[in-house]
Symmetry: C2
Subunit: 180 residues, 2 copies
């Protein structure tokens, strides 16, 4: 099975938080798709972050797409000229004030490969210690939760981690911590 | 923690495959976010579909966001005036030609609750029989794969199911089939 060929491409909007492109595509069977929409994003990171006491650092925040407050993994965007592991450590420090000894990649996933090409990298970090206060600006409101691993596992198995990237990441993390 | 208040809202684009809205939001701390982008989509369904021989029905197709051919769960969109379980059965029949005895909801997840509010429902279907040929139009190219459950489990644990909604769904499905 072959990739489809881009015949033409133009941007509808290019903003820091929304970049939407429309492509004209040639399929291998000769069919032309006139309007295929693609969302462009930078790489993202999710962090399964354990303190030196063995607790998991989670965050609670309002998510305006779903219009509800949700419990999630700490997460963020990989900045230009930064590698994903650096971004994981930087975002954790800013969002939670914790620094970690080890940082290991455990999975990489697409949020939706039909509509966007960016990968989300999940890191398992261990040995976390709080070394500073959260560093948020006025446009952020993030509550840090320290949870027992079993409590997070219960949330996951009860389908209460609503973000699919985070649910998948936690399954990989629990398997990395305690292999099947 | 409270929801943020929508002060103003306007559409950038409203197309069948791309609806992008920009909201002006008031945070509880008084901060106003001038441009918060939200993507509107219908509900989606993913299907973990087992034949009466105990094989899993998977699909292979080109995904233009990621610009690669991927192995995925059968999936689709819930049409208006259709419930999600009906959509699961209809999409499976169209994409694969299989009909199923049982259909059970096993999880519901947001692709990304920061940017969109639609849920993806995952159904576990069993007792599948091929009753007709695939019904695709020229704009679709989907190869049906019948895989042993263990082979899909291996793909999942090797991080080769790249779509996060599908990876999470498969973890829930394997747990439903064979509880931890």
């Amino acid at each position: 099975m072959e990739n489809w060929k881009i015949l033409d491409s133009k941007y509808i909007i290019q903003q820091p938080w929304a970049t939407l492109r429309v492509d004209r595509l040639l399929m291998p069977n000769g069919h032309v798709k006139d309007e295929y929409y693609v969302l462009e994003y930078p790489s993202w990171v999710n962090m399964v972050a354990l303190t030196d006491q063995g607790q998991m650092v989670m965050v609670k925040q309002y998510r305006h797409g779903a219009q509800q407050v949700m419990v999630e993994l700490p997460a963020g965007v990989v900045e230009e000229e930064e590698d994903a592991a650096e971004a994981a450590r930087r975002e954790l420090l800013e969002e939670t004030g914790y620094a970690f000894d080890d940082c290991k990649l455990i999975c990489q996933l697409y949020a939706n490969p039909a509509t966007s090409g960016n990968l989300t990298y999940t890191y398992l970090l261990t040995g976390g210690k709080k070394i500073q206060e959260q560093q948020l600006d006025d446009s952020e409101d993030i509550e840090v939760l320290l949870m027992d691993i079993d409590a997070v596992k219960t949330l996951l198995f009860e389908n209460k981690i609503g973000q699919s990237l985070h649910a998948a990441a936690l399954f990989y993390a629990f398997n990395a911590i305690d292999p099947r």
